[in-house]
Symmetry: D2
Subunit: 154 residues, 4 copies
């Protein structure tokens, strides 16, 4: 929709910082998720299908879809935060568009607007089957920049 | 808020049906979740803390919080559906109120209004520590009744 | 759901302050809305039916429902803010439960959790017909406390 | 994000149908809103600034922003519905990105996925000042196709 995504990062080392924080998320390791793309205001995550994380119809559970997309949104927001800050999910809304069925998935997080305190992101999950990508879910998320809490740094 | 929760179930065997469908959710077993309360329009789920499902600050990941609350909401909706129907999450919105920190958690799903096609539910996650319950997250969810799809029955 | 609503106001004059800010909202006057209840963490608004604000089926437009409930949520949050702060709607999600049909309406806003920066509220719209109240819509809203902006005070 | 928007309309007369239903919305006339673009899966609405519809800081009220964007989303969904059906807003979520300040506004609704019963739309409001467009709000909305209700046709 012609949105300019010219977000200026306030931390030149944002790429390493995002990957390091992602590496400290036990859930991502448990899910076998990896971070595949980091740019200013953008993060992608890859996720394999795993029957342990499915719901009763054999599809990836909407909560696992949420785990990947929320993480992508949170780290997309973190790419634009100054050193010393931490990222916090305030809230998100997820619409399922199709069953989360496929051999692999790709979650994307994109910053729509980064304010001093509040960052708004758009997220999406794509199912991948034989190179074909289908959109499975879309998210609209509100992320908060947390400052001055030494115990909470990303 | 004084809402009358006098929902009339259309399936007299709703309790066994909900527990059976819950039992077919691999994710719930993976999380160690159990269903602890089933009534017309109401489902509760118990969840232990497990470091494998945490985010980078050591709290339960918001996507796992979502997994439990979305499941509670979906099955709360299923308690009121006629035999042969299936339950589908259309969308949900979750607000985090506090860090998901505790030794155990309780997720609740309550039907606000059950229509022919659309059911709206309120969900919540409570963290439990030494018998003390703290509200961690609230959800507002839209659930769909799926009919006439023999491959999709709950 | 048994939630303790023992919110402590930081401004002893919160009642007058909320009513004064409400009085500065031209939209509320345009809609003929009045503030009917103010307490710590709680605001109610009354609204008459008016054909000028309806959608194509003759019901109050969902955006007007939103106007009343969002205002109730915002001012419920303001009851707990310190002097000098201003209230800002970050986002909201509204589910329609029934057509907004009736001679009068009552919008409610209740604080679920008031943090230093973020307040989460639950809102609802009731249609009133012959003293009977029907729930028409439910909202989950995120409100922000804005500080140190002299041009923005409520 | 490279989404294919090749939605096939099931009613060849969708353009006239959408404009006629829009013409039956008293709120749109009250707001001075006009429909400026109709295509398969797409609707735009133009809205002037009007002080009667503002909140206490002089900006367009978030509920009025919602009115325009929800209407654009609903009619975007209607462009793809078969004759005889009606459109119903199930729920929406709106994030404010910037104050709704400007001389004119443009609301957009775009179908992300049109299912048999549920259509998911993305909406946005742009403020226009001296030809410059700023994104003010983004919406994610769930719309329902209502059938077999002769009293409810769009």
């Amino acid at each position: 929709m012609g949105r300019s995504l010219s977000h200026e990062p306030r931390d030149p080392a944002f790429d390493a910082r995002v990957r390091a924080s992602f590496g400290r998320q036990p859930l991502m390791a448990t899910l076998g998720a990896t971070i595949t793309h980091v740019a200013a205001g953008e993060v992608d995550i890859a996720l394999p299908f795993d029957a342990r994380f499915t719901q009763q119809h054999g599809f990836l559970h909407a909560g696992i879809v949420t785990s990947a997309v929320d993480t992508a949104c949170g780290y997309a927001a973190l790419t634009l935060m100054e050193p010393g800050a931490a990222v916090l999910s305030v809230e998100f809304k997820l619409n399922m568009l199709a069953p989360a069925s496929g051999t692999h998935f790709r979650a994307t997080g994109r910053v729509l607007r980064a304010g001093r305190t509040i960052t708004v992101c758009a997220g999406e999950l794509f199912a991948i089957d034989d190179q074909l990508e289908t959109s499975v879910a879309v998210m609209q998320a509100t992320i908060m920049t947390v400052r001055d809490r030494p115990a909470l740094v990303d």
